[in-house]
Structure formats: structure tokens, C-alpha cells
């Protein structure tokens, strides 16, 4: 695997739209070709090299390309958007849309990400070693096809609207989450190791939520069923199982309605 290293040298006025910072756009290119790729500030088109020192070189394919981005990227949007393979390491905070519509490969952010990371994600992995903003792993506006596959892991907290319209894949939050989790979800798994506020699983059709900490307000559409023992991915303990959202439509299997499941650890 070849490595391209980008180090930000000029901070943009306003924000930099850098959807070209992906292994896909870099693959097969030398440093100077990468530096010539387009970035945007508002209506102005610039080159990546106007803002970043580019060193190293890309592999022949995305899979053989690793991109390391250094410096303060908190005003850079779209890092890793639509990437299909390879690796991106961001050694900073990053702005919106990290790994949005990502299909494969891996993004590691050694900092925080702003909203809309992993929007419409189809595959691959995002690891955030800080906090994540709102709408992590959610669908784009209007789309009923949210996160389909892949995995998102956040060491810290996540914002509101986590996993909206989620259909598959997995999201693990090390800390706490804000309101609205897995709204309209039809599948997938969300693990919250800290506390949750309210509106978990609203209008949820299918899928699973695990909460190891507290929930401020449980949705009225979730009904307690039973206590169960769970052991998975290093989580072990007794959980209260709730099913819901009772107000929502649900698929049937063998004449039985299949509800979404919410597990809350007992005695957390």
C-alpha cells in the first residue's frame, strides 16, 4: 500500500469542499497530479495544492492507497466521500460529511467529526476517536435508504439523529448520544455504551438498539417484554428487552409481527 500525505498549509476563508480527498480520486496519481485536483470554496474553484502540502504517491488502485491528512481540518468538508476502498487517516478534527456515501475501505479520524458523517453509507468502516456530530450514519434528506452496511465506531459521544433510516450495518458509540436514535430504522444494530436522552427507536420498524447506560425518556411505543442475557463483542450482562415502535407498521413472519428491539442493560 502506497501512502499520500496531505498537510494543510493554508486555512480556507469560509470552508473547503474537498470531496476529492479519497483513495479513489488519488489512485494512480503522483503527488503533483494529486495537488492539481479540484477543491472549492463557495463558487471558487481551487487546487488541492493551494491548501495542502502533498507528499508521497498513490497506489495503482484505491485499495492500494492510503491517505494521511494532517493539520487542522475542522473547516474541510467531504473527506472520504464515496470512497470504495483503501484507507484514510485524519489526524485532526474534520468537518461535515466524513465518509458520506462510502462504499468500502476505512477512515480513521483522530479527532472529532461534524454532522452527516457516514450519510447513506453502503460499506467500509469509519472509526472516530473523538466525538461525532449529528446525523451520524443517517440517510440523506428524503431518502429511505440510510446506512446499508459497514461499521461506524465512535470512541466519544454522538449527536442527535444517529442512524436515521438505518437498514443495516453497525454503529457503536463509546459515550453518550443526543435525542433521536434509529428513527424509521428497518435494520442494523446500534450500540450505545453511555447514556441516551429520549426518542430512541421512534417509528422504528426493525433493527436493534443496545443501551448500556440510562435512558431519560422511553418512547411510549416501546413495551417491556422480558429480561435476557446477552454476550456479544465484549458486552456481557443482563438486559431488559423492549419491543416497538408499537405504533408503527411491521413486517410479519409466520403470522407474527416482527418488532424492532431495544435492549437496556440492567443495573447499569
Amino acid at each position: 500500500m502506497e501512502t499520500v500525505t496531505l498537510t494543510i498549509k493554508n486555512q480556507p476563508e469560509l470552508y473547503l469542499e474537498a470531496d476529492n480527498i479519497t483513495p479513489d480520486a488519488f489512485a494512480g496519481k503522483k503527488a503533483e497530479e494529486i495537488a492539481a485536483l479540484h477543491v472549492y470554496i463557495g463558487r471558487e474553484q481551487h487546487q488541492l495544492g493551494d491548501f495542502f502540502e502533498v507528499s508521497g504517491g498513490a497506489g495503482a488502485t484505491p485499495e492500494e492507497t492510503k491517505v494521511v491528512v494532517n493539520g487542522d481540518l475542522s473547516r474541510v468538508k467531504y473527506i472520504g466521500m464515496k470512497m470504495t476502498g483503501g484507507e484514510v487517516v485524519v489526524n485532526s478534527n474534520a468537518d461535515m460529511y466524513v465518509g458520506a456515501w462510502m462504499q468500502g475501505g476505512k477512515i480513521t479520524v483522530n479527532g472529532n467529526v461534524d454532522a452527516f458523517a457516514g450519510t447513506g453509507m453502503k460499506g467500509g468502516e469509519i472509526v472516530v476517536n473523538g466525538n461525532a456530530g449529528n446525523y451520524l450514519g443517517a440517510a440523506y434528506r428524503g431518502d429511505w435508504r440510510g446506512m446499508a452496511d459497514g461499521k461506524i465506531t465512535v470512541a466519544g459521544n454522538a449527536g442527535s439523529d444517529l442512524g436515521t433510516f438505518m437498514n443495516g450495518g453497525e454503529i457503536v458509540i463509546g459515550g453518550d448520544v443526543d435525542v433521536h436514535v434509529a428513527t424509521h430504522a428497518e435494520g442494523g444494530k446500534i450500540v450505545i455504551k453511555g447514556n441516551a436522552k429520549s426518542r430512541l427507536g421512534g417509528q422504528m420498524v426493525g433493527g436493534e438498539i443496545y443501551v448500556l447506560g440510562n435512558i431519560d425518556v422511553m418512547m411510549p411505543g416501546f413495551a417491556y417484554r422480558e429480561d435476557v442475557d446477552i454476550e456479544m463483542d465484549g458486552i456481557k450482562g443482563r438486559f431488559a428487552l423492549y419491543e416497538g415502535d408499537l405504533g408503527e407498521r411491521h413486517r410479519k413472519r409466520k403470522g407474527q409481527l416482527i418488532y424492532a428491539k431495544l435492549y437496556q442493560q440492567i443495573g447499569a
Binding site: 440523506y140 434528506r141 428524503g142 431518502d143 429511505w144 407498521r249
Partner: protein, 567 residues
């Protein structure tokens, strides 16, 4: 205005009866003229290319409230597909429900120059006209819907044809409408209570009238007025397995009524998107009844139809058939918009994904093509997708490919997940017919123009007609792959609209001088109808009568078709 001479193209023109012979077409002052009439024309070398009149779309949902609901509630329909502004082209977005700007340009790119908006809710006529005004290049008109209108229901309950006609004339003028459109007659009024009319004899709640009475009465009123287009219907029971019987019953309502039109049409009923109305069987055993439907159409020249071909795309369904859209959202669980309109109509909008992996969708695809391939008279059978219901209009060239190439159809059959079951439920696999470009020109130009009563303007290349001329980079006399058809007809090389070159070398060259067509029918003074109008506005409408009529700047370039029905 510049003169043009389009030289040596292979011309397909049903009006002149030219079936692919090389010929020259001359343009002067916005009209087609004899080649001898141009003195110093700009010459377009069309040798080895196909030349046709501008396309005429008799039925598409391209402007107005439900179309805009479709746009605004589907941001995902525009994701990543936007076309940036470029020179004179403004930015263009949307796949299944394009922006007005894209609508105009994309039709032009296919060589189309006239497009009719198929359903205008009268109360929203202003909105429809605003959108048409902002749709470049195309000549357009809109059909106000009548089949669930309280005035119509009350007059036709007692078979008051003259009053119905007077009301139609008034509403066409108030809304600047083009034709009488009927959608799910009675069923949409029933939907205001959450109900439906499932066949032509199913009575409308409260109003004590049946769909059959509504349809027959509106045909009679249409002929009383002698409007350019016939009554244009989307029958009851759309989309339901077994519905072909309702369709045949509806067709039969046209029997025995003679066309009365000075505009050259020979039919009294246009039935739209017949694909959705040609289903046999029930539930999962849903099957094609295209042969039964086409047997009727082929032997009864009182009607015209359009296809409503399924294109196997993700699209956005939208119709004044409110109960149908509710049914659809119950099936696919996708977002559902509904808009009931006081005293007049309703509309529903639901996204839909037609998939080659879905047996029912594949059967629908077959039926649309079967209707065309079983047709005998292509001046009465028109190519549409009921845009965007069965697929976006930008797929017309793909449908041409399927109609013109058995090989292309075979390729599609091979892509079906349930190929064998689909073949069992349909007839298409056994049809080897391949249409030619002359038949395509009938289906997309001469036929629809005649049916609209606009054969004196559109649909052909005879001197005196509007200079709407398309040149396609397609040589029918050289070997070609099926995909070459789609490619060529998606991307006209040149297009003239009323003598203005709007596409040059495959690029948009002008925004044209779009016109809005409407029909001004004069009738005898009818105090009763005017009294009824006043009363309904006073008591039941929420806008005043004086704020209802569409005027002035909503139609910056109107083209009025005058009809005298005074007696």
C-alpha cells in the same frame, strides 16, 4: 428570421407519406415551406441522418402542483445528478421529476417540441401556468380535470349536456386550459371520504351518479363544443389485476358518439396510459390482457390511446387518482403526498421503484410494449410513459429501441429475475415485430398532433406547418446496434422550434419562444350556469370568483384556439 434548408436527410413523415426517402426540408418565417421558397438559407447537411417533425407528447405530468410536490419532497431524486449551468443553459436538476428548465431542455434533446400537461387542477391553474412559463422551448397546454368536479357531477346526474358544455367552456377560459381531462371519474370524489369507484357503475357517494354517466356525458359535452381534442380519460380501477374489463367497459362508452370537430380529429375518446389498465388475473397471478385491449382498439376507430410504458426505473408516481396513490403507499410503504382540491379533484404522489427483479414490474414492462406491437393503426396509438408514472420521459428513446428491436427486448428478458414466470404471464416473448421509424413518427408526431386537433400546426413536415424539425444522427440504412437507436434519439443533432434553432450540434442553442396553447370556446349565454358558478364560489369555494381566473402575465406568449359553439 433566418431561413434554413435541411438537405438530404432520410425523412420520416406520415403527413407527407415519406418513409425514409432522402428529401430537403425548408424553413422560413417559422414555418415549413416549399424548398423553392427559401432564397438564401443556412444549409444543414443532413445526409445520412434522420429527419422528423418535432415530437408531440399528448400526456405527461410536467408542470403544476403535484409535479412540484414530487420535486420538493424528493431531494434524493436530485442527489449527484445535477447538471450545472453552462452558457445559456440554466442549472438543471432531477431525474424522475426534473425542474422546469431541465424538462424543456431534455425534451428538446429528444427532438420534442410540444408537450401537454396531462392534469391541471383548476384551482391550481395559476401554478401550472407559472411552471409552463418557466419551461423553455416547448409549446405547451394543460388539461383541466373534470371527472370529479361538483358542477359536472350535478349537471350530468340529470344529463344536462348543454349546461355541462357551458361550464366546460367557462372553466377552460378561467384556467386557460386546453382539453377535457377525466381521472378516475367519480372515484376521486369518493376518495374525499377515503373511498373509491371501482368500476363504471359504482355510484359516487352522495352525488348519485356513476362513472359511466360522467364519462358519457363529458364525451357528449366535448362534442357539443367541438373542442380540438377529444375527452381524455384515465379510467377507473387503474393498476388493479383484472381491470382490463373496466377498461373495455370504458372504451365502449365512446360507441355511437360521432366526433364533431373542425380540427381534424376523428375520435371522441382518448384513453391514456393503457398499460396500467390492461391487467388480467388477480393478486399475484396478474397477467397481460394487452391482446384483448388491442383487439378492441384495432377494431374501433372512435378512440385513440397512449401506452404508458414501464421503463424499469426508480421514479415518482403522481396522479389525480387519489385512491390509487393511497393503495400504492400501502404496498411499498414509501412516502405519500395527497392533495384533495375543493369541489374539483385530488392528487397523490408516491415514489416507486420498478425493478427488473420484480415479477409484476416485468409484466408491466411487457404489457406496455405489447400494446404497441399489437397495434394496427399507429396514428391512434401514442408512445408515452405517463411521465413520470411508468418512467421518466427521457426514456422514450429506450422505448423506441425496445419497439424497434427484438434483440433489445430479448436482452431485457434475460435481465429479469423471474424471466420464465414473466414470459408465462405475457405475450411479448412471442412477438417478433419490429417497428420502423415511420411507425415511430406516427406514434410520436403525426398521431398525437391529429388527436389534439393540432394537425394544422404540428406533427409533420408539410409546407404551412410550424417549422418544428428534428435531425438525428442516425442512419436507418446502415447496420446499427439497438443501443444506437436510444443514443441517437436521446440526443438530437439539431432541433428547430417554430423556425428557431434551439439545438445545434447536440447543444442547446436557444431558449426558444415558448407558447402556451389554450382553447377559447364560445357558447350561448347560459344564465343558469353563471348563477351556479356564483353560488358555488360564494358558499363552498375558499377563493372568491373574482380571484379565480388566470390572466395576463401567467401566459406571456399565449396561443388561443378559438372554438365557436354558439347555436
Amino acid at each position: 428570421m433566418a431561413e434554413y434548408l435541411i438537405k438530404n436527410g432520410f425523412v420520416f413523415d406520415p403527413v407527407l407519406g415519406i418513409k425514409g426517402d432522402a428529401a430537403d426540408i425548408a424553413i422560413k418565417d417559422g414555418k415549413i415551406v416549399e424548398t423553392s421558397a427559401v432564397k438564401n438559407p443556412k444549409v444543414i447537411d443532413a445526409a445520412g441522418k434522420t429527419v422528423m417533425a418535432g415530437g408531440v407528447d399528448v400526456h405527461a405530468h410536467v408542470a403544476g402542483p403535484k409535479v412540484n410536490i414530487g420535486r420538493n419532497f424528493r431531494p434524493e431524486d436530485k442527489l449527484f445528478g445535477y447538471k450545472p449551468k453552462n452558457g445559456i443553459e440554466r442549472m438543471q436538476g432531477g431525474f424522475s421529476v426534473p425542474t422546469t428548465i431541465r424538462t424543456g431542455y431534455d425534451y428538446a434533446r429528444m427532438g420534442y417540441t410540444t408537450v401537454m400537461e396531462a392534469a391541471m387542477p383548476p384551482l391550481y391553474a395559476r401554478h401550472t401556468h407559472e411552471e409552463m412559463r418557466d419551461t423553455p422551448i416547448l409549446d405547451q397546454g394543460a388539461y383541466p380535470v373534470f371527472g370529479n368536479n361538483w358542477f359536472v357531477l350535478e349537471y350530468l346526474k340529470n344529463h344536462e349536456i348543454e349546461n355541462t358544455a357551458a361550464y366546460i367552456a367557462w372553466l377552460l377560459r378561467a384556467t386557460k386550459g386546453y382539453a377535457v381531462k377525466v381521472v378516475n371519474p367519480g372515484g376521486t370524489e369518493a376518495w374525499a371520504w377515503g373511498l373509491n369507484c371501482e368500476n363504471i357503475h359504482d355510484p359516487v357517494p352522495y352525488f348519485d351518479i356513476t362513472p359511466a354517466q360522467i364519462v358519457k356525458g363529458l364525451i357528449e359535452a366535448n362534442e357539443y363544443l367541438g373542442l380540438p381534442h377529444s375527452m381524455h380519460i384515465h379510467a377507473n380501477n387503474l393498476g388493479t389485476p383484472g381491470n382490463y374489463q373496466t377498461t373495455l367497459d370504458t372504451f365502449k362508452l365512446s360507441e355511437g358518439i360521432k366526433p364533431n370537430s373542425k380540427f381534424g380529429r376523428d375520435q371522441v375518446m382518448h384513453h391514456t396510459h393503457v398499460q396500467f389498465h390492461s391487467y388480467g388475473g388477480e393478486g399475484f397471478n396478474f397477467e397481460s390482457k394487452a391482446p384483448e385491449i388491442m383487439d378492441y382498439v384495432n377494431t374501433h376507430d372512435n378512440i385513440t390511446i397512449d401506452l404508458g410504458c414501464v421503463t424499469l426505473d426508480e421514479t415518482t408516481t403522481m396522479t389525480a387518482d387519489g385512491p390509487f396513490e393511497h393503495h400504492l403507499t400501502e404496498l411499498n410503504h414509501l412516502k405519500w403526498a395527497n392533495a384533495d382540491v375543493e369541489l374539483e379533484t385530488a392528487a397523490g404522489v408516491v415514489p416507486f421503484v420498478y425493478s427488473a427483479n420484480n415479477k409484476a414490474n416485468a409484466v408491466q414492462w411487457c404489457i406496455g410494449l405489447e400494446l404497441a406491437l399489437l397495434a394496427k393503426d399507429f396514428t391512434r396509438v401514442f408512445l408515452t410513459t405517463d411521465h413520470p408514472n411508468a418512467g421518466p420521459f427521457i426514456r422514450y428513446p429506450r422505448i423506441m429501441k425496445w419497439l424497434m428491436s427484438e434483440e433489445a427486448r430479448k436482452q431485457q428478458f434475460d435481465a429479469f429475475k423471474h424471466k420464465d414466470k414473466v414470459i408465462d404471464a405475457t405475450n411479448l416473448a412471442g412477438i417478433d415485430r419490429e417497428l420502423d421509424l415511420y411507425e415511430i413518427a406516427q406514434m410520436t408526431r403525426a398521431g398525437p398532433a391529429k388527436s389534439l386537433g393540432l394537425a394544422h400546426m404540428y406533427g409533420g413536415l408539410a409546407p404551412g406547418l410550424e417549422a418544428d424539425v428534428a435531425v438525428f444522427d442516425f442512419n436507418p440504412n446502415e447496420p446499427y446496434a439497438p443501443d444506437d437507436i436510444e443514443k441517437a434519439f436521446s440526443n438530437a443533432e439539431h432541433l428547430f422550434k417554430a423556425g428557431v434553432q434551439v439545438v445545434r450540434d447536440h447543444n442547446i442553442a436557444s431558449n426558444g419562444n415558448k407558447r402556451t396553447l389554450w382553447v377559447n370556446a364560445k357558447v350561448n349565454e347560459n344564465p343558469q350556469v353563471m348563477r351556479d358558478v356564483k353560488e358555488k364560489f360564494l358558499r363552498y369555494y375558499t377563493v372568491t370568483l373574482n380571484n379565480y381566473e388566470v390572466t395576463g402575465h401567467y401566459l406571456p406568449n399565449p396561443y388561443v384556439i378559438e372554438v365557436d359553439a354558439t347555436q
